[in-house]
C-alpha cells in the first residue's frame, strides 16, 4: 500500500520559501498569484490490512516523526 503525506507550515506561520518564491513569480510577470506555500511530500510503501489500518499507522508515524505539529499541518492520502 502506498501513502502520500503532504506537510506544510501552518496557516499563520510565515513560510519564508513560499514568500520568496511568490516574490520571484511577481518579478517574472506572473500576476494574480495571491499566496505561495511550499511544503514537502513524503511517499511511503507500507504493509497494512486495509486503508483504515494504513491511515492509522501513517498518522502515528507523522505525529511522531514526519511532521512537527508545533509549526506544521499535514494531510495523508492512502492509495
Amino acid at each position: 500500500m502506498k501513502a502520500v503525506i503532504n506537510i506544510y507550515l501552518k496557516e499563520g506561520v510565515l513560510d519564508p520559501q513560499g514568500k520568496a518564491t511568490h516574490h520571484a513569480l511577481g518579478s517574472l510577470g506572473f500576476n494574480g498569484v495571491s499566496d505561495v506555500r511550499i511544503g514537502k511530500q513524503i511517499v511511503l510503501q507500507l504493509d497494512a490490512k486495509g486503508k483504515t489500518e494504513a491511515e492509522e499507522k501513517v498518522r502515528e508515524m507523522t505525529e511522531t516523526l514526519l511532521a512537527n505539529t508545533v509549526i506544521e499541518d499535514y494531510t495523508i492520502e492512502i492509495l
Binding site: 510565515l14 520568496a20 516523526l65 512537527n68 508545533v70
Partner: protein, 227 residues
C-alpha cells in the same frame, strides 16, 4: 569551586563537541564525550551539553532524527529528575523537537545560513546558566545557523515572559532589538519553566578567547559552576 563532570553528546554530524570540550576544560571541569548509541549517561554527570552541528545531516528537520537516539531516553530521565541540560544551536533544535523546550526552530526568514559575531542581550539571569551575567548585559557571541528562526504561538510567548524563561534576545551594539533571523521577538535562547533545561542558537563555546574576538562565553558557561 566544585569540579563538574560535563557530558557532551555526539551524534553523526555533530561538529562542535570538541570546541565544547575545550571550553568546559578551560573552566577547569571534566568532560566526557558520549556517543549517541549509549543508553546511559556517565554516573555523577553534573551537566549535559548537546552541542552544535548537523546531526543526521539536518534531514527531515534539524534535530528531528537525533531526538530518537538511544541516549535521549537517558537525557529525558536525567532532565525529569532535575538534571541540567544545555542545548547549543543544533542542541537547541533537538530539545525543541523532543518537546523538552517549547516552540520550534524554523528556516531563517532570509533563507540564508547566517555565520557571524552577534550581540545578544541578557533578559533573565535568575537561573543556573546566566547567573554570572547581569540583566541587560550585551554579549558578543558567534552565531552559525540556517534554522534559527524561533517560533512560538502568542499564548506560549506570554508564558515564556511570565515565567522568566526568555534568556537572550538578538540586539545591536547598543542593546536595541535587532532582527537577525525572524525569531519571535528576537529570541535567541530560552529555558523550561523549571529552569533546568536551556537552549540557545549562539555558540558560547566559540567565545572563550579574546584573540578569537570575544571571551563572553566564559561568563555564560561559568554560571553552571556557581549553582
Amino acid at each position: 569551586m566544585k569540579k563538574l563532570l560535563v557530558s557532551i553528546l555526539q551524534f553523526p554530524g555533530t561538529n562542535c563537541e570538541y570546541d565544547t570540550v575545550y571550553a568546559v576544560e578551560k573552566l577547569g571541569h571534566d568532560t566526557r564525550v558520549v556517543w549517541h548509541k549509549e543508553n546511559k549517561l556517565p554516573v555523577n554527570t553534573d551537566l549535559v551539553i548537546i552541542p552544535g552541528g548537523f546531526s543526521y545531516g539536518d534531514y527531515l528537520r534539524s534535530g528531528s532524527i537525533a531526538r530518537f537516539s538511544p541516549i535521549m531516553n537517558a537525557i529525558k530521565e536525567y532532565a525529569a529528575s532535575g538534571g541540567r541540560v544545555l542545548g547549543i544551536c543544533n542542541g537547541f533544535q533537538i530539545l525543541t523537537e523532543m518537546g523538552l523546550l517549547p516552540g520550534a526552530l524554523k528556516r531563517n526568514n532570509n533563507l540564508h545560513f547566517v555565520s557571524k559575531k552577534q550581540t545578544i542581550k541578557v533578559i533573565n539571569n535568575d537561573n543556573a546558566f546566566l547567573n554570572q551575567c547581569k540583566k541587560g548585559d550585551i554579549l558578543n557571541i558567534p552565531v552559525a545557523h540556517a534554522d534559527g528562526n524561533y517560533y512560538i504561538d502568542d499564548w506560549g510567548y506570554e508564558e515564556l515572559v511570565k515565567n522568566g524563561q526568555i534568556l537572550l534576545r538578538y540586539c545591536d551594539n547598543n542593546g536595541e532589538s535587532k532582527v537577525l533571523n525572524g525569531s519571535v521577538q528576537q529570541i535567541a535562547g530560552i529555558c523550561n519553566s523549571e529552569k533546568n533545561i536551556f537552549g540557545l542558537m549562539p555558540h558560547p563555546e566559540r567565545a572563550m578567547e579574546l584573540i578569537l574576538g570575544s571571551e563572553d562565553g566564559i561568563r555564560m558557561l561559568k554560571g553552571f559552576q556557581n549553582r
